[in-house]
Amino acid sequence: MMAVIFCVNGEKKSLIRTIMSIGGFALLCTSAYLTIQFLELRQIDTTSEFLFTESVMWYERFNIHYSVGVDGISVAMLLLSSIVVITGVFVSYAMEEKVKEYFLWFLMLSIGVYGFFISLDLFTMFLFYEVALIPMYLLIGLWGSGKKEYSAMKLTLMLMGGSAFLMVGIFGIYYNSIPAGGEGTFNIQEIAANVQALKAEGGDISWEYIFFPLTFVGFGVLGAMFPFHTWSPDGHASAPTAVSMLHAGVLMKLGGYGCFRIAMYLMPDAAQEQAWIFIILTGISVVYGAFSACVQNDLKYINAYSSVSHCGLVLFALLMMNKTAMTGAILQMVSHGLMTALFFALIGMIYGRTHTRDIREMGGLMKIMPILCVCYVIAGLASLGLPGLSGFVAEMTIFVGAFEHTDFFHRTFVILGCSSIVITAVYILRVVGKILMGPVQDKHHETLTDAVWYEKVAAFGLIAAIAAIGMAPLWLSNMIGGGIENIAKLFTYGL
C-alpha cells in the first residue's frame, strides 16, 4: 500500500538528489491519493474502524501479524509525514558530504515513521518505532553540528530508555488481555475488544494501573513530556536541518500518537484514573517549555523548547479525554509538525548563510533576505496562533474542548495552558524583533543572498499547507474526528 523507495544505487550526488526528490514527490502523491480514497471510502463504509486493512501472519507462535490499516488520524499523520519528508529532501539539497549514506538513513527514518502510523499490530508498531529511532544517532552524529556526539548519544539513549518502558508495557498488555481460554493477540483492535469484554465480565483489570503509566511514559519520552524532555533541545539543536524537521515535525508525533493509540485506547480505565498525574506533568512541559524558549539565545534551542511546549499541549489535550480536545490534539500534531518543520528549515537556511544561530549576533536580516524572513514571520505567527493559520485552529479546538471540564483541577491547568499562548508570543516576537528587524549587526551579513529555488519550494510548500489547514480546517477535523470517536467513546465524558 505504501510505496517504499530504495535508492541504494548511484554514486553521483545529483542523481541521488533527483531520485530522492522524485521519490519524495511520489510519496506525497501517494499520500494525497490515499487521503482522497480514504475520504471516498469513508462515505460508503461508515462502520469499520480502520480502512484498507491488510493482515499477514508473521510469527504464528505469538499470533503476531504484519497488519496495516488506516483511520482518519493515521491518514492525517501520513499526509504530514510526506509533506515534511519531501520538504526535508529539498532542504538538504545542498548536502555535500556522504550524500548517499545520509539519504539512506533519512529513508530508514521515514520508513520507520510511515510503518508506525499504519501498523495495527503492537509488535510491528514497536518494531517500526525503534527503526525510526536508531538512524537518528548516525544522522546527528555524522552530519550534525555543535556538540553533536553528546547530543546524539543522549537522544538515542533516552529514547531507547523510553522504549524499554514501552516494551514492558507491551508485554503486560499482551499477557493480561488474553481472554479466558483464548489466544493472546497483538492486534490493537482485538486487544481493545478483549479488554472491554474483560471489563464487562467484571474481570480483573488492575494490571492496567501498572502498565498504563509505563506505556504512557514510554511514549511520553518521545513526546517530550516533562521531565523526560531533555533530549529534545540538545538533539534538535545538533541535528542537521532536515533531520530536525523530520524529528520535531513527525517523530515527536509518534509519541503523541502512541499515547493515544496504545496507552489510552487499550487501557481506558487506568487512563481515566491516572490522567491527573500526566496532566500535571504535561501542564508543566507546556509552560516550562515556553518560558525556557524565552531565555534561549540559540535559534534552534528556542524552537526546540517551543516544540516541547507545543508537544506538551498535544499530550495535555489528549488527556482531557473528550472528543473536541482530542481532535484538537491531532490537529495540533499536524499543525505543529508543519510549522516546526518550517521553522527548522528556515533556521537551517539562515544558519547556512550567517554561520551563526546566536540571536545576539544577527539583526536586520529582513533587508538582506526578505523572502526567508517573511516566511519566518509567517511561521512565527502560525506558532502563536494567528487566526487563518493552522496553529489557531488547533489551539482553539483544544482549549474549547478542555474548558468542557468544569472542576477546579482541570480549570486551573487549562488556564495555565492557555497562558502559554501569551508566552509563545513573547519569544516569537523577541526573535523576530532581534534578528529580522533593527540595524544589521554584522557587516558581513550584508552580502548574503536570499533563498534559492529548492529552498523556496520547501518553504512555500510548508506555508501553503499551514495556510490550507488554517483556512479550511473542517475536512481535516472531520476526518480526524471519525477516528477519535472510536476511542473517545471509551471515556466518561468522551462524546
Binding site: L127, I134, G161, A164, F171
Partner: protein, 467 residues
C-alpha cells in the same frame, strides 16, 4: 548418536590427515579438514529430520529434534569459526594448524555429549572433554605470552569449577541415590544438602557460561587467546552450555523450580549489570566483547528462568542469532588483527573511511547485539523477554531492558569510533581473504534476514519443551 559417530570419524580423519600429509601439504590438509567438517555438517542436517526422541545406554544419552537442531547450530558456528581461522592458520599458526582443527572438534564432541546427556556423569565427561582441549586451544599462540597466561587462567578456573561441580553432583547422589536426571527429579527433596548440591552445580556450569560471579577468567582469556578461539569460546561453548543447563534444570530439577529460580533471578541481574558496566570501560575490543558476552549470557538465562517451552524456544533462537552476530563481530576483529595487529577501540577510529564494508558489517553486528530492529537481534531479544514476561517476571524484564540501554551505549561507542571519529592513523584498507569473506557474508545475511523468517522460530518452538 549419528552426530557423535560422524564427528568422531571426522576427527580421526583430520588427525590422520595431519599425521600423514600434514608436514608436506599444509594447505591441502587444512582445506581437507574444513571440507570434512562441512560434509559432516551437511550430513547432520539430513539426520535431524527423522529423529523422534530416543535414548541410548539406558537413559545415559538422550536425543530429540531440538537436540539435533542445537547440534546443527553448533556445527554451523564451528564452520564459520574455521573459515575465520583459515588465514591465521595459514600464516601465523602454520605449524600447529592440524592441532587446531582436531582440538576444536574434540571440544565440540564434548559439547554434543553435554547437550545430550541424561545422566550427571555423562554431562561431567562432556564438560571436561569440552574444557581441557579448550585450554590447549587458548594456549595455541605460542609466540605471545598472554596466550599462555590466558590458558593458565582458564585451566585453573576450569579445574576448580569442575571440582566444585562434581562435589555438588556427589551431594546430589548422596541424597537422591541416583545420577540419572529422571531419578534425581523424582527423589529430589528440599533438604539443605540437595540445595547445596544444586548451588555447587550451578556454580560449575556458571563458569562455563561465564555468569557473574564465576566470570573472572573471561576477559583475560578472551584477550589472550587467538581471536578465532575467542570467537569459538564466546559463542559455541557458551551456547552449548546454556542449552545443556536449561535441559538439566528442566529435567532434573523441575520439581522445585522455586529453589533455582530464586538463585537464577539474582544471578541474572548481577550478570547483566556487571557485564554491561565493565564493558563500558574496555578499550581492547576483545575484552569489550568478553564483557558484552557476559551480559548476553545473562539475557540467555532469561529463557532458562522462564522454564517454559517458549523459554527454550527463545533461548535456542537467541543463541542462534547471537552466534551469527557475535561471529560477524569477531570475523571483523580477527581479520583486522591478523593483518594489522590492531585490536584497540581507538584503532577503529575512522574505519568507515578506509574499510567501508567492514565498518558496515561491524555496525550491523553491534546494532544486532544491542537489539535494534530490523536486525535479527531485536527479534531474539523481544522473544526471550517475552518468554520471561509470560511467567510474570516483569521486574526482571524491566531491569534487563534498562541494561540494554547501557549496552546500547557501548555498542554505539564502537559505531561512533568507526563512523564519526576521525583518525590520523587509521587502519589501512585491507583485503580480507576469501574464506573469511564467505563467513562474513553468511553472518551478514543471517543478521539481516533471520528475524523476518518466522518459520524458523515456529520450527524451533514446535520442538521445544518446558516442564
Amino acid at each position: 548418536m549419528n552426530h557423535e559417530i560422524s564427528l568422531v570419524v571426522v576427527m580421526t580423519l583430520v588427525l590422520l590427515a595431519d599425521l600423514i600429509i600434514g608436514d608436506k601439504n599444509k594447505k591441502i590438509c587444512q582445506i581437507a579438514s574444513i571440507g570434512l567438517f562441512l560434509a559432516h555438517t551437511i550430513v547432520c542436517f539430513q539426520w535431524s529430520n527423522s529423529y523422534s526422541p530416543t535414548e541410548a545406554f539406558s537413559g545415559m544419552y538422550l536425543t530429540s529434534e531440538i537436540h539435533m537442531f542445537v547440534k546443527n547450530m553448533l556445527n554451523i558456528g564451528t564452520v564459520l569459526v574455521f573459515l575465520y581461522a583459515y588465514y591465521w592458520n595459514t600464516h601465523e599458526n602454520e605449524s600447529h594448524a592440524g592441532e587446531f582443527y582436531f582440538l576444536t572438534l574434540s571440544t565440540l564432541l564434548g559439547m554434543y555429549l553435554m547437550i545430550s546427556s541424561g545422566n550427571f556423569l555423562l554431562f561431567y565427561i562432556g564438560l571436561e572433554t569440552a574444557s581441557i582441549p579448550m585450554a590447549t586451544l587458548v594456549a595455541l599462540n605460542k609466540k605471545r605470552e598472554e596466550s599462555a597466561e590466558a590458558a593458565a587462567k582458564y585451566i585453573l578456573t576450569a579445574a576448580f569449577s569442575s571440582g566444585v561441580m562434581i562435589f555438588g553432583i556427589s551431594m546430589l547422589y548422596a541424597t537422591c541415590g541416583t545420577l540419572y536426571f529422571d531419578g534425581v527429579s523424582e527423589s529430589f527433596s528440599e533438604t539443605p544438602l540437595t540445595i547445596m548440591g544444586l548451588i555447587f552445580f550451578i556454580a560449575g556450569i556458571g563458569f562455563k557460561i561465564s555468569l557473574v560471579p564465576f566470570h573472572l577468567w573471561t576477559a583475560d582469556t578472551y584477550q589472550g587467546a587467538p581471536t578465532s578461539v575467542t570467537a569459538y569460546l564466546s559463542v559455541i561453548s557458551k551456547g552449548a552450555a546454556a542449552f545443556a543447563f536449561m535441559c538439566i534444570l528442566m529435567k532434573a530439577f523441575s520439581n522445585y523450580p522455586d529453589v533455582w529460580k530464586e538463585i537464577l533471578w539474582w544471578i541474572i541481574v548481577v550478570t547483566i549489570t556487571v557485564g554491561n558496566l565493565f564493558a563500558i570501560r574496555q578499550k581492547n575490543l576483545k575484552r569489550f566483547l568478553a564483557f558484552s558476552s557476559i551480559s548476553q549470557a545473562g539475557y540467555i538465562m532469561l529463557g532458562v528462568i522462564a522454564g517454559s517451552d517458549q523459554g527454550m524456544a527463545s533461548l535456542v533462537f537467541y543463541t542462534l542469532i547471537y552466534m551469527f552476530t557475535n561471529l560477524a563481530a569477531f570475523g571483523i576483529i580477527s581479520s583486522i588483527e591478523d593483518q594489522t595487529g590492531k585490536v584497540s577501540m581507538d584503532d577503529y577510529d575512522g574505519l568507515y573511511d578506509t574499510n567501508p564494508k567492514l565498518a558496515v558489517v561491524m555496525m550491523l553486528a553491534m546494532f544486532s547485539l544491542g537489539g535494534i530492529p530490523p536486525f535479527a537481534g531485536f527479534f531474539s531479544k523481544f522473544f526471550i523477554f517475552m518468554a520471561a514476561a509470560e511467567q510474570g517476571e516483569y521486574l526482571l524484564v524491566f531491569l534487563a531492558l534498562l541494561n540494554t540501554i547501557i549496552s546500547l551505549y557501548y555498542y554505539l561507542l564502537v559505531v561512533k569510533a568507526m563512523f564519526i571519529k576521525k583518525s590520523d592513523n587509521p587502519i589501512p584498507t585491507i583485503k580480507i581473504d576469501s574464506m573469511s569473506k564467505v563467513g562474513l557474508i553468511i553472518c551478514t545475511i543471517c543478521i539481516l534476514a533471520l528475524g523476518f523468517i518466522s518459520p524458523l522460530y515456529t520450527y524451533i518452538s514446535e520442538r521445544s519443551f518446558g516442564f
